[in-house]
Structure formats: structure tokens, C-alpha cells
């Protein structure tokens, strides 16, 4: 077949080291046999087995052998390369040879831990070791690629996660761009009335931070703006931001609020007001908005409808209104990106039997947050949809859309606690009201959370354990007439029950933003099936993503409450600060390159690259790889019909050699009649 390739012209001196890993490997695999057997390979100069290769003495063994025996290649058979590849590469380098002349065989995770069959495990270990030996012979010295880190950071999303991360970085002296889709920062936390379990006023703890963001010279605040495009890689991202027209010259606006006062158009406030209150066509979401200048809502403005009105323009004392303002496109360059895009609340309309949107006195949790807020549409009075009647009984339904195979399977984590908070707020505002909590399981892990639950038990809230089947306004007896009736199970009593109620609050769960998938593709990082962004490691790298230089914080990663969000935002900021401090990062030299003199210019590879790293030279009629953009996936290498693209460290020759080594014991008998 390809005999001449089986033995390179000059034999390499490979050092093979089989690790016992205590009994982790040696308990299942006959390491001595494997080490002895490995010597049969003509390229192997020395083959040893040792108890712990990752220990200092194990590493020194490699260094010493390289120096004394003149080894040219190293193979260590131990754990996963994701665990100790770096360790052994460094040992190889200290020994005096290029670290990329080292190869690892994973005989622990893929070998001894995966089977109890000793003979089979030993056979598999031999195959893996042989694959590594055959491969390492074809490996070539490579140098890591240094990349400078641009010290500026982009933070996407101006909720409490984005605000925290921005302040952490900016206060440490770093340039930050904070991009927010809405007209003001604040996010969901600005809509919330009180925070559990301490019952702090949400706005009172949030707005000072918002002001800090607005006043920090290191933070460039881009509100009413969206990210259109992201290019580049860690250290060097170029981001295209569309700054949507507010129809207002920001430099002239004094945030006096006269335009808002004079605007004759009243619109239902779907965003900040959760659909409960009204706003004007030119508006600030709430008085403490940062930045303080308003946004003109073109869809509802009379001027944009029929060219008349212009009241805001007439009354503006500084002539700041500019109807014909156009969107602005900004190109910003940053070194790292933190995504803090938050969550959407589960839309309770999706569960028709709960009647939200059909039965007037069924409220969503955000509606209730706005209602109970002193600056909200009802000035803090808990009233039915008619705006005046106080409810005598209130039911809070847990797990709306969560822990439900039909909607979201996961537990949304925060709903039990905010439902308890709702119960407390109802008790506080209407002491004589009867309050029910319909729950499946009470989940209150967190500092002071369980204590809050106990407090509510003492406050007299009725807890009914069971999922609510239906909320209806069709009464069966006079007591139910004119009420909402909650049909539910009571699993503690083991029976069905109907509870007549005046007002129902649906505790909807958090879910991923409706556009999280597009966002994850825009930033080239992953999101799971539920739409939440995927962290690099669920335990040990919870704010990093699979893409270097892109971090995640807050509810975009999964449901979480404010303290967790703030902690994660701080962690993401410190990850970024670490990279900024380092100044440069060393990137794996796994990159593709095209042998231009052999390229036929077919351009098959051109459109395959997800990073647009392949350009076509129109003069020479050949394709060329822009090394700085290449991420080393190798898709183009696999596609090249002339095999003239080399994927460094994963070349065709190296993979084929590994394959050959791996199949040492099953090589087919020579052909009968080769043509």
C-alpha cells in the first residue's frame, strides 16, 4: 500500500512513558506489558512505565531522557490531553525539544475507566499508544501564536449583570462599551418592586449603580443600540453596532421631560410597564432612566403617521428634537466580550387553561411587580383589572411554564422565592386578604431564603401542594359566582379541590431570550436546546464560553436570581481583567495554510470557512488563508480536492499515521491479486 511511508527515512527516537496513575490505570491495564510491547516499534528508543507521570519526578524523567538519550519525540500514555497535555508539553520543552513533538495517548478516561475487561483494556491501550507513536513521528515543531489583547471590552446587555461587569472593569481603569437594546439600562431589575428575601427596594439599590455607569468616563454607554456583526477573535474583535435613531440630539437634550409632558399620544407600555400602564410616544421608560434622554417611538408618533403634531419639537427648549435623524453605524474594536443579555419571562398565554389574557383578573408576575410598585400605574395599590376593587383573596400559581414537559422542563429557580415575596406583599398591602400559594415543591435554597419561607408560613399564607389544572370563571355554585375558580390537586390531602379567588398571579419562569440562538451564532458561541448560552465547563468555567474572549454572565446562561447574577458578572469581569493584565495570550498554532503553488484555484474551500478566513487571490488565481482569522477547525483541509491545505498539528499525514498505528492488530492480509 504505502510501505515507503511506514518507516520514515530516518528513524526518530521516541520516548514512550506509560503512567500507572496509581491504580487508576495500572489496576485495569497491564502497563508493564504495554511498555515492553511498545519497544517493538522501530522508532521507539526507550519505553518506560511509571507510577505518576504528572508528578515532578515523572516530568523530570522525561527531561532527563531527552537530554541523556537524545530523544526526539515524546509519547505519554496517561489521562486525557485536556487534563495534562499542557503539563507534558512543558516538560518536553524543558527537556529541550519543541513541545509540539509530544503526543498523548488517553488510556485512562478512554481506557481503564471505561471497561472492566483487563485484556481488552490492555489491547486498546496498545492500540492507542501505537497510534500516538506513529503520529508523533510525523509531528513537526510549531510555535504558539502570540496575540495582543485590546484592553477595551464590549458588554452586551445593560441589566444588573451588564451594569456590574461594566463597573467592575471600568473602575479598574479599563475602557468599556456597554450596549443596550432599550432606551435605558436597568433591565428586568428596574421593573421589580422589592427583592427577596431582604425586601430591599429594587430601584433603590439599582439606580445608584445606573448613575455610576452613566458618570463613569471609562464607560461608553450605547443605549437603543444593537449589535449587527462581530468579527475577529480573542484580543481583536471588531463589532458593528447600530445606534438606532432616537430622533433626538443627545448633546442638546437636558432631560427636562417637557417633550414627554406635551406629547399627546398615549401608548400602552408593553416593555417596562409590562402592559399595565401607559407611556407617551416620546418617552423615558422610568424617571431614573440612564441615560436620561427620551426615545421617540416612530411607530406611534403622530408626526411619522401624518406629518402633523410636532408638539415635542415646538416645546423643546433646546431644539434637541430631530425627526429626520438616521441610524448610526459604529465600528468598535474590543479585546473581549461579555454577553449579559438576560432572559424573557415565559408567556403565560401559551397555557390557555390558565386564562391569562382572557380572564381579566389573571395577572402575570411582571404586571404584579409594576402594580405593587409605588411609582407604578396604580401607585402601589393592589387592585383588580377594573383599577379600583381590592381583592379579598389572591392565589399565586407556581411553576407556570416551568417543570413542565409541555413547555420548559427545567426549574426556573427564582419563582418559588418571588411567589413568597408576592404573598408577603399582598399581606402587607391588604392585611385582611386571604393568600394562597399553589406549589409543586417549595424550593428555597439560598442565604435567608428558607427563613423567608418560614416567615410566610407564620404570616398566614395558605400553601396548597399540587399543580393547578385550570383557572376558570365558570362557577358551579353560588359561592363560586363572579370569582375565578382554581381547579387543582392537593397532593397532601390526596384530593382535587376548587378554590374561588378574586385575583390570580401567575409565577412564570425565566426562559432564554427569543433571539438567543441568533445571538449565539452572531458571537460564534453555543447555546443549548433551551436557548441558554453554554458555558465552557458547568462547574469549573461557568462564565467562559467555548469561544476564547467571549464570556457570559447572568440569566442568559440559565435562570438565576440577582445575587447569583451579580456574582457571575463579577467573575466574568475578572476573567476579562486577567486577559487585559496579561496583555498577550498565546494561541494554539493549530491553523490551516495553503500550499499556493499547488492550489488549483477551484475555490471550493472559500465558502466553507465560517470565519471568512480564506481569501482568493485574483491575480495568482489561488486561495490563501488569513492566519489571523483562522481558528483551525480543519473543515477546509478536509474539503480540498487537491489536498494542498495543511491543518497544522492535524495534517492528513498525521491523522493517517495515527489511524495506521491504531489498527496495528487488524491490518488486513495482503491482497490476493493486486492489479
Amino acid at each position: 500500500m504505502n510501505d515507503k511511508k511506514q518507516i520514515p527515512e530516518q528513524l526518530e527516537k521516541v520516548g514512550v512513558y506509560i503512567c500507572h496513575c496509581g491504580s487508576n490505570i495500572a489496576g485495569t491495564i497491564d502497563v508493564e506489558d504495554v511498555a515492553k510491547w511498545a519497544k517493538n516499534n522501530p522508532n521507539v528508543e526507550i519505553s518506560r512505565n511509571y507510577e505518576f507521570m504528572c508528578s515532578n519526578t515523572g516530568q523530570e524523567l522525561i527531561e532527563k531522557d531527552i537530554k541523556e538519550k537524545g530523544l526526539t519525540r515524546i509519547v505519554v500514555a496517561s489521562c486525557s490531553p485536556l487534563m495534562h497535555e499542557k503539563t507534558f508539553r512543558e516538560a518536553t520543552e524543558r527537556g529541550g525539544i519543541n513541545p509540539f513533538l509530544f503526543e498523548m495517548a488517553n488510556i485512562r478516561e478512554h481506557g481503564s475507566w471505561a471497561t472492566n475487561d483487563k485484556a481488552a483494556a490492555t489491547q486498546k491501550a496498545k492500540a492507542l499508544v501505537n497510534g500516538a507513536i506513529e503520529r508523533v513521528v510525523h509531528q513537526v515543531p510549531l510555535e504558539k501564536i502570540p496575540v495582543d489583547i485590546n484592553p477595551a471590552t464590549l458588554i452586551v446587555g445593560g441589566g444588573i449583570a451588564g451594569i456590574t461587569a461594566a463597573l467592575e472593569l471600568a473602575e479598574a481603569g479599563n475602557q468599556v462599551y456597554l450596549v443596550e437594546r432599550e432606551g435605558t439600562i436597568g433591565g428586568h431589575m428596574a421593573q421589580i418592586d422589592k427583592t427577596f428575601p431582604t425586601l430591599d427596594c429594587s430601584a433603590c439599590i439599582l439606580t445608584p449603580k445606573m448613575v455610576d455607569v452613566g458618570q463613569n468616563d471609562n464607560i461608553t454607554l450605547l443605549t437603543f443600540s444593537e449589535i449587527e456583526d462581530v468579527e475577529g477573535y480573542i484580543g481583536n474583535f471588531t463589532v458593528k453596532v447600530r445606534k438606532k435613531a432616537r430622533c433626538l440630539i443627545e448633546e442638546l437634550c437636558t432631560s427636562c421631560g417637557i417633550c414627554e409632558e406635551k406629547c399627546p399620544v398615549k401608548v400602552i407600555d408593553e416593555d417596562y410597564g409590562a402592559g399595565l400602564g401607559y407611556r407617551k410616544a416620546i418617552y423615558r421608560a422610568f424617571p431614573q432612566a440612564v441615560p436620561g434622554y427620551p426615545v421617540l417611538d416612530k411607530d406611534n408618533c403622530t408626526y411619522f403617521e401624518n406629518g402633523k403634531c410636532r408638539a415635542c419639537e415646538k416645546f423643546c427648549p433646546t431644539d434637541a428634537i430631530k425627526f429626520d435623524q438616521e441610524d448610526e453605524i459604529l465600528n468598535i474594536t474590543v479585546g473581549n466580550i461579555i454577553l449579559a443579555t438576560g432572559y424573557d419571562l415565559f408567556d403565560a398565554r401559551r397555557i390557555p387553561q390558565y386564562g391569562y389574557g382572557r380572564l381579566p383578573n389573571v395577572f402575570s408576575s411582571l404586571e404584579f411587580e409594576r402594580m405593587v410598585n409605588a411609582s407604578g400605574p396604580t401607585e402601589g395599590h393592589i387592585v383588580l383589572r377594573d383599577g379600583v376593587t381590592e381583592p379579598e383573596s389572591v392565589a399565586i400559581v407556581h411553576c407556570v411554564g416551568s417543570r413542565d414537559q409541555n413547555y420548559n422542563e427545567y426549574c426556573s429557580k427564582v419563582c418559588c422565592m418571588y411567589s413568597l415575596k408576592f404573598a408577603h406583599l399582598v399581606h402587607e398591602h391588604i392585611p385582611e386578604a386571604v393568600v394562597y400559594n399553589f406549589y409543586m415543591d417549595m424550593r428555597t435554597p439560598g442565604k435567608g431564603y428558607e427563613e423567608f419561607y418560614h416567615r410566610l408560613l407564620k404570616e398566614g399564607t395558605h400553601f396548597v401542594r399540587g399543580r393547578v389544572a385550570e383557572i376558570t370563571d365558570v362557577g358551579r355554585n353560588p359561592a363560586e359566582e363572579g370569582k375565578l375558580i382554581i381547579q387543582s390537586e392537593n397532593t397532601l390531602l390526596g384530593k382535587q379541590q376548587r378554590t374561588p379567588i378574586d385575583m390570580v398571579l401567575l409565577s412564570s419562569g425565566m426562559q432564554a431570550r427569543h433571539d438567543s440562538e441568533e445571538v449565539s451564532q452572531l458571537f460564534k458561541m453555543g447555546c443549548g436546546f433551551d436557548g441558554f448560552f453554554t458555558e465552557r465547563h458547568p462547574k469549573l468555567a461557568p462564565v467562559s464560553t467555548m469561544t476564547d474572549g467571549i464570556f457570559i454572565a447572568g440569566a442568559c446562561q440559565g435562570p438565576k436570581d440577582i445575587p447569583e447574577t451579580v456574582a457571575q458578572a463579577g467573575a466574568a469581569a475578572s476573567q476579562v481583567a486577567k486577559l487585559i493584565n496579561q496583555g498577550t495570550v498565546m494561541m494554539e498554532p493549530v491553523r490551516a495554510s495553503i500550499r499556493e503553488d499547488e492550489c488549483s484555484g477551484c475555490r471550493i474551500c472559500n465558502n466553507l470557512c465560517p470565519y471568512n478566513a480564506i481569501e482568493f487571490d485574483d491575480e495568482k488565481k489561488v486561495s490563501r488563508i488569513i492566519t489571523a482569522l483562522c481558528q483551525g477547525c480543519g473543515t477546509c483541509v478536509a474539503a480540498c480536492p487537491s489536498s494542498v491545505i495543511d491543518g497544522a498539528h492535524f495534517t492528513n499525514t498525521q491523522v493517517m499515521a495515527e489511524l495506521k498505528g491504531l489498527l496495528w492488530d487488524v491490518q488486513p492480509a495482503p491482497q490476493k491479486t493486486p492489479a
Binding site: 478512554h110 497510534g131 447555546c527 477547525c633 489511524l659
Partner: protein, 153 residues
């Protein structure tokens, strides 16, 4: 080893999801068929169909290509390219009479050690039932037919 036929399956596992899934299977001490011999590639999109052919030609009884779930590829959509190549390759293989079960594609995320382990078990059983591949008899034929040109790379 026992008398039973033990198929050899070469696995091309992507660095970011499936190789980690195999690591996780090991770390979680999930026991599965030792018949898989994994090769790490950066992305399932790196798997040149020639790798698969070469594996089968060199004595493997089956090949498993495993990558990240669609939409979760570390390199945006390399796995989709792997899928396209896989489907084309399967057509060719079936024309050579190579059974469907011998070359399989799997999406296994880094947290799906169990998914990978179960597939390896299933695939091992399926190929064991089929018996050895016998590439030279099957593809090249008994009558000394012209070997399929596999490009030397």
C-alpha cells in the same frame, strides 16, 4: 480473548464535544464496549471521507464520527459540513455493499458521556451481528477487480 468476534471501531471525535463526552464517560466510570478506538480531531468537519475509507481499508469494522449538536459547533457549523459529507459518503458506501451500521454519525455534547457510551455499545452489537468487514473481498471483489482508487495523501 473470547471466541466471540470483537469488532474494531475507529472513532473520530471532535475536540470540543464528543472527545469530552468520551472523557466524561470515563470519569463517570460508565463501562462501555472497549471496541472504540478514538482519534481526536478539532472538529467533525475535519473528518475527510478518506479517513473513513482508509480506516475501513486498514482493518476497522466500523467508523463512528461524533461531533457537537447542530447549532452548538465550536466552529459555528463544521458539524453540518460533516453531516453533508457523511450523507454523500454513505451513498457511496452502500453502493459498495457496506452495511449502513458500519459508518455512523453521532451528536454528543460534552455532557453526554452516556449518549456516547450507549452508542458505542449499540454499534458494537450491530457490527458484531454483521461480522467482520472483509473490505478486500467486499469492495475489491473476488475476481481481481480494479481497486477503488484511494488517493495517497
Amino acid at each position: 480473548m473470547s471466541e466471540q468476534f470483537e469488532p474494531v471501531i475507529v472513532g473520530f471525535l471532535c475536540n470540543w464535544c464528543s472527545y469530552r463526552a468520551a472523557d466524561l464517560a470515563g470519569t463517570a466510570r460508565i463501562k462501555y464496549a472497549p471496541n472504540l478506538r478514538p482519534i481526536r480531531v478539532m472538529c467533525s468537519g475535519r473528518v475527510d471521507p478518506q479517513f473513513v475509507l482508509q480506516a475501513l481499508r486498514s482493518g476497522a469494522d466500523g467508523v463512528l464520527i461524533a461531533g457537537c449538536h447542530p447549532g452548538e459547533c465550536h466552529y459555528v457549523n463544521g458539524n453540518i459540513k460533516a453531516l453533508r459529507r457523511f450523507l454523500l459518503l454513505k451513498k457511496t458506501l452502500s453502493q459498495w455493499g457496506i452495511e449502513d451500521e458500519r459508518v455512523q454519525l453521532l451528536w454528543a455534547s460534552a455532557s453526554e458521556g452516556i449518549v456516547l457510551a450507549e452508542r458505542v455499545n449499540k454499534m458494537t452489537e450491530e457490527i458484531r451481528a454483521l461480522g467482520p468487514l472483509r473490505w478486500h473481498d467486499k469492495v475489491l471483489g473476488d475476481n481481481g477487480a480494479i481497486p477503488i482508487p484511494v488517493k495517497e495523501i
